[in-house]
Chain length 127, copies 2
Amino acid sequence: MESAFEIIAEPNRRAILSLLVSSQQSVGEIERQLRMPQPTVSKHLRVLREAGFVESTVDAQRRIYRLKPEPLQEVDAWLAPFRRFWSAHVDALERYLDRMDQSTPTKSKTKRGRRGPNRERDKGETK
Amino acid sequence: MESAFEIIAEPNRRAILSLLVSSQQSVGEIERQLRMPQPTVSKHLRVLREAGFVESTVDAQRRIYRLKPEPLQEVDAWLAPFRRFWSAHVDALERYLDRMDQSTPTKSKTKRGRRGPNRERDKGETK
DNA sequence: CTTGAATATACCTTGACACGTATATGCTCT
DNA sequence: AGAGCATATACGTGTCAAGGTATATTCAAG
């Protein structure tokens, strides 16, 4: 387990988190809305709690669970470099589509573009 | 496997993706930079390829792998509602701390002046 | 055609984890 | 104190994925 990524790999746990994002919920409410057996809910909540995704407060026999932001923010942070990547990628695609759009069909066929924006760097590869 | 979340749950796969975000790489380059055995790299690349995270082109005996954006964008999209939650959460924490300020005389807390777009998120279903 | 490099795949073993069922704990109310 | 609800935990089981080692495939060059 350990890492936030492994925690959210489980579909039921993602469902629980998505449920909690709108408002806090008791175990029974989660159980009913997601139609999953109660021990399953409790066990997933335990995993989520120990990983810091949720916290619980006691209300008589009920436990109210609510979301905590940090672990998902960590996931979000890991994603940041890729966001930069795919905006660049969209730009390249747009330029490509623009050229496709305005090029007349009689134009010479497009050369196979092996080179992207990134030059690969040779590092003394055995050849 | 199936879901993008399960794919990126694996640390080695995340490392490969992080490596590819800067530029495309051959299998051998990945193998050396991440210091992992070649079959391991190939197997993870296979998983990533079949899940649409990467694509490969052939260059003689080499295979050059590069990133594809869609699956990570899907993860990013799932994260969107939680991003909204975070900003709201900061507001709620501030209000909570403000009340703590007035109701618990033994604690001295620094008051914070930060505030964003005022969202009302409290539905008051707590009994 | 043989050799060697680069990459992929097959097979096996091991460990983690999700689930179901049963039971324990804890709280409220009468 | 006892009944009943809400939640947690213990235990046994099956599945699946990751790693290691060995081998197969593909290509280039001599």
